[in-house]
């Protein structure tokens, strides 16, 4: 069925075997693993930067780091978390799961898949190395507004620009691959409206990526020519406008934040039905809602720019459009609750993370809705309130989503069950610490603390100290997570094929751990699930 030309690789040495396995691989599972480890590594890197910031913000005054260095930490933290942690994390999950969930033998373009991955370590290497360059790393925030980043940016800005180009290439190629895999390699008996929601949300995310990553690339290209070739896109003296940069950036940036959350929605929609032992409520409306969110995301970017002096009519338009997003998002939240309603629930770690996701994301969504009200945004904008908002949607949103997915699927990947007790400890630690870290930011923001400041006046001291303590605990909880993952890879109770009693879908029909090659012939859909949870499947690898 599947033609493999070079089935037998000549085994020259252990090193060569390692290289062919990881560097030259075309296997979606290997590439998924690579993505996930990259994301994890950068999570620790960017997290360490957050720790540096929180350490400095522990008390008023300058204790540990200089203002310029704080700005570098801030910028690198934001950029790495968004582009280096959440996006590769989700792509890693897509690589592992999408072929398994739609019954495909691999990704549609396996070599391109490897290319997409291997661009990233180089791109982030370029970005991180700028920390050691003369003049320091980029220091203008992850939004790199002109002219702070153009006229006034440090020399390393150009490495950052080319790094963004490379990430863009990687994302676009990766997204193309995902879309084509879904459209072309889906097992013939699975209709579009049969697809698991994780696949649906990723399909839409990939579409968003293709639409907006080139826009980001265009923005940084114009930055480069403004910096070095005398153009005046972002300079009023030549007839351009610094605000044009913001419009372009946020035309990318807002869809981007949905790129950072839609796969998370998909994950919650896989996990909640499994542990509620009940079908997902409102499958069709879930799909339509996701599409609606993606569609609306193209016309709301102005809500990041309410304080820039846009005309009244424009402000009103962006306010209304932004508020509308609450409707499809609400539909999703209500559907999850309805899925749980009258189910028969158990609360294993993936479920806990999924529930944490739904609740805390919704809190972040609520503050987003408040931000959308233009007059109120004049008070919230660029304060810690915004920082609170986006960490609520990103940390317990995107990151909890990813962690839920890891706990949910890791038995399938490794063939071992993770340590349930440690998993629960991890969850409770994380959930408490996240709130301890980010909830007080609402208050400091409302009281008037701007964001992106290295030092603050005395009235904000208490809450900042609480945040910093929370951040420390949050950091520790991630070390625990690392320990759990490593422990699971190295051993543990054997996982069954079905893994979760309530699980449904093609990925649960292949043995655990999933053999290197799966679904070489398209499987039947819907699968005949083996409901016998005690069945032990022999481990088979090709």
């Amino acid at each position: 069925m599947v033609a493999r030309a070079e089935d037998v690789i000549p085994q020259r040495s252990a090193l060569w075997a390692f290289i062919t396995r990881w560097l030259l691989t075309t296997n979606h599972k290997d590439i998924g693993t690579l993505y996930l480890w990259l994301s994890f590594t950068l999570f620790f890197t960017a997290g360490a930067m957050a720790m540096a910031m929180r350490l400095e913000l522990f008390e008023p005054g300058l204790q540990f780091i200089e203002p310029l260095f704080y700005n570098q930490m801030l910028t690198m933290h934001g950029l790495l978390m968004v582009f280096g942690v959440v996006m590769p994390g989700f792509v890693g999950l897509a690589n592992w799961q999408i072929p398994l969930m739609i019954g495909a033998p691999d990704m549609a373009l396996p070599r391109l898949n490897n290319f997409s991955f291997w661009i990233l370590p180089f791109a982030f290497g370029l970005l991180i190395s700028s920390l050691f360059m003369d003049g320091g790393a980029p220091n203008f925030g992850w939004t790199f507004y002109a002219p702070l980043s153009t006229t006034y940016g440090p020399p390393s800005t150009d490495f950052f620009i080319l790094g963004v180009h490379m990430m863009g290439i990687s994302s676009v190629l990766g997204a193309i691959n995902i879309i084509v895999t879904i459209f072309n390699l889906r097992t013939p008996s699975m209709k579009l409206m049969d697809m698991p929601l994780f696949v649906w949300t990723w399909l839409i995310t990939a579409f968003l990526l293709i639409m907006v990553m080139p826009v980001l690339a265009g923005a940084v290209t114009m930055m480069l020519t403004d910096r070095h070739f005398g153009t005046s896109f972002f300079s009023a003296a030549g007839g351009g406008d610094p605000l044009m940069f913001q419009h372009i950036f946020w035309f990318f940036g807002h869809p981007e934040v949905y790129i950072l959350i839609l796969p998370g929605f998909g994950i919650a929609s896989q996990i909640i039905p499994t542990f509620a032992r009940k079908k997902l409520f409102g499958y069709h409306s879930m799909v339509y809602a996701t599409a609606a969110i993606a569609g609306l995301s193209f016309v709301v970017w102005g809500h990041h720019m309410f304080a820039t002096g846009m005309p009244l009519a424009t402000e009103l338009f962006f306010m209304y459009a932004t508020m509308l997003i609450a409707v499809p998002t609400g539909v999703k939240v209500f559907n999850w609750v309805a899925t749980m309603w009258r189910g028969s629930m158990t609360f294993e770690t993936p479920m806990l993370f999924a529930i944490g996701f739904v609740i805390l994301f919704t809190i972040g969504g609520f503050s987003g809705l408040m931000l959308a009200l233009v007059p109120a945004d004049f008070q919230y904008h660029d304060t810690m309130f915004v920082v609170a908002h986006f960490h609520y949607v990103l940390y317990p949103g995107a990151i909890f989503g990813t962690m839920a997915a890891v706990y949910y699927w890791i038995p399938k990947w490794t063939g071992h069950m993770y340590d349930e007790r440690l998993g629960k400890i991890h969850f409770w630690m994380a959930v408490i610490a996240v709130n301890l870290t980010f909830f007080p930011m609402h208050f400091t923001g409302l009281a008037g603390m701007p964001r992106r400041i290295v030092d603050y006046s005395l009235q904000f001291a208490d809450f900042n100290m609480v945040s910093s303590i929370g951040a420390g605990i949050l950091g520790l909880s991630q070390v625990l997570f690392l320990y759990i993952v490593v422990k699971t890879i190295r051993g543990g109770e054997k996982a069954t094929t079905q893994v979760w009693e309530g699980a449904d879908g093609l990925e649960w029909t292949v043995p655990s751990p999933a053999p290197r090659h799966t679904f070489e012939t398209p499987p039947e859909f819907p699968p005949v699930m083996n409901r016998d949870a005690d069945e032990r499947t022999p481990v088979s690898t090709t």
């Binding site: 008023p60 005054g61 300058l62 204790q63 203002p67 310029l68 700005n71 003369d134 003049g135 220091n139 006229t151 006034y152 300079s235 009023a236 610094p242 605000l243 009940k278 079908k279 499958y283 069709h284 304080a307 002096g309 009244l312 009103l316 306010m319 508020m323 609450a326 409707v327 609400g330 539909v331 209500f334 749980m340 309603w341 009258r342 189910g343 028969s344 629930m345 609360f347 529930i355 919704t362 809705l369 009200l373 233009v374 007059p375 004049f378 008070q379 959930v431 208050f443 409302l446 008037g448 701007p450 992106r452 400041i453 290295v454 030092d455 603050y456 006046s457 005395l458 904000f460 208490d462």
Partner: protein, 377 residues
């Protein structure tokens, strides 16, 4: 497993209790009400949206927690199998739409008033630069810079921090009560944002463009805010202080400023006439340097890497005098080294240059007189 709901509940209770503990209670939890009509209406809008969200949250999370409690496996071993209902879907699409309309209406009416900048009694042109504000009273032809006045010893934790740590300036913006004041924001370098929470005025200052905002402040007092757009290294050190005085006092203040300006020009003439000694200039120069230059070039003139060049032993401070004067007075375009001629007096520029040429081992023995600077203007 039965304890899941109660654990969650306990967790929540803990959070609430912690939220009420005394240190925390002392700090405000709410958006500032401010003093203007607008800031209070915005706070009302904040409360409206907050309570809508709280109610929605209680309903949604309440249903979830109830379900987690009542529909856990030990209580409800057999799951139901409904998974679709068009009418329910329509209901929870339409109801949020109605709620949103309810929020959008007051937001729209408030916004329309905020954006009405017409019929101002007084116009202030606020020009931002790294990292200070310049206030120009367009009608009265008065203008001055406003720099943060918190000493660096407090920032470096060498001295106890004052009450208004980081929120104090040398020259606050002075405004009258009960007048519609129009703010025009502009910038000389990067984007800044002028914010006074108590007026609910936050307006970006964008290089090359001018934005407008307004406030009518009924209550005299001192109001503090900050720059809220990341504008480089010292973004945290760019406070806004506004002193609002009753109308009569304000008018008197304007009159005083006029007189002071005339005196200053007389003073400048006198400064030019005098020939200053090295010691005098070095003393003034050191003060000026610490106040304006040390954030970048460091108090010992050692700079910060290649970003901010070292002045100790630097090419320009030890090279020809003319180039040095030129650089300090007119800065270098497209770098953070700005033009100081507008902000500093002839005497200050002369003394800071003298200081730079003779401090930290720069032993040029040059003495620069204010009249030289005057001639270079």
């Amino acid at each position: 497993m039965t304890s899941i709901a109660s654990t969650l509940k306990n967790g929540l209770m803990l959070m609430v209790l912690w939220g009420l503990s005394d240190t925390v209670l002392a700090a405000a939890l709410d958006m500032r009400a401010g003093v203007t009509d607008m800031s209070q209406r915005i706070q009302w809008l904040h409360h409206l949206s907050l309570w809508i969200c709280v109610v929605m949250g209680v309903l949604v999370f309440g249903a979830m927690f109830y379900s987690m409690y009542a529909h856990r496996r030990s209580k409800n071993p057999v799951p139901a199998d409904f998974h679709e209902s068009l009418s329910v879907e329509i209901a929870w699409t339409l109801i949020p739409v109605l709620i949103l309309i309810g929020m959008a209406i007051p937001a729209t009416t408030t916004l329309i008033e905020i954006e009405d900048n017409s019929d101002a009694d007084l116009t202030i042109l606020i020009t931002a630069s790294q990292w200070k504000w310049h206030y120009q009273y367009l009608e009265a032809d008065i203008g001055y810079y406003s720099n943060m006045s918190t000493p660096s010893e407090q920032i470096q934790n060498l001295e106890p921090k004052g009450e208004h740590y980081l929120l104090e300036v040398d020259n606050p913006l002075v405004l009258p009560t009960n007048k519609k004041v129009r703010f025009l924001t502009a910038s000389n370098d990067v984007i800044h944002s002028w914010w006074v929470p108590d007026f609910a005025v936050k307006q970006d200052a964008i290089p090359g463009f001018i934005n407008e905002a307004w406030a009518r402040i009924p209550v005299p007092g001192i109001y503090r805010g900050q720059c809220t757009e990341l504008c480089g290294k010292d973004h945290a050190y760019m406070p806004v202080v506004v002193e609002v005085r009753p109308e009569a006092e304000f008018d008197k203040w304007i009159e005083d400023q006029r007189i002071a300006r005339e005196l200053a020009s007389g003073q400048a003439v006198a400064d030019r006439a005098k020939t200053w000694t090295m010691a005098e200039l070095m003393e003034i120069g050191e003060r000026v340097f610490m106040e304006h230059c040390a954030t970048c070039h460091e108090s010992d003139g050692s700079g910060q890497g290649s970003t901010y060049p070292a002045l100790a032993g630097g090419d320009i401070p030890t090279g020809p005098i003319a180039a040095h004067i030129e650089r300090v007075m007119f800065g270098k375009s497209d770098t953070e080294m700005q033009s100081w001629a507008p902000q500093l007096s002839d005497l200050e520029i002369a003394s800071v240059i003298t200081y730079e040429r003779n401090a930290w081992g720069n032993a040029t023995a040059d003495v620069i007189q204010p009249r030289t600077i005057y001639a270079a203007r």
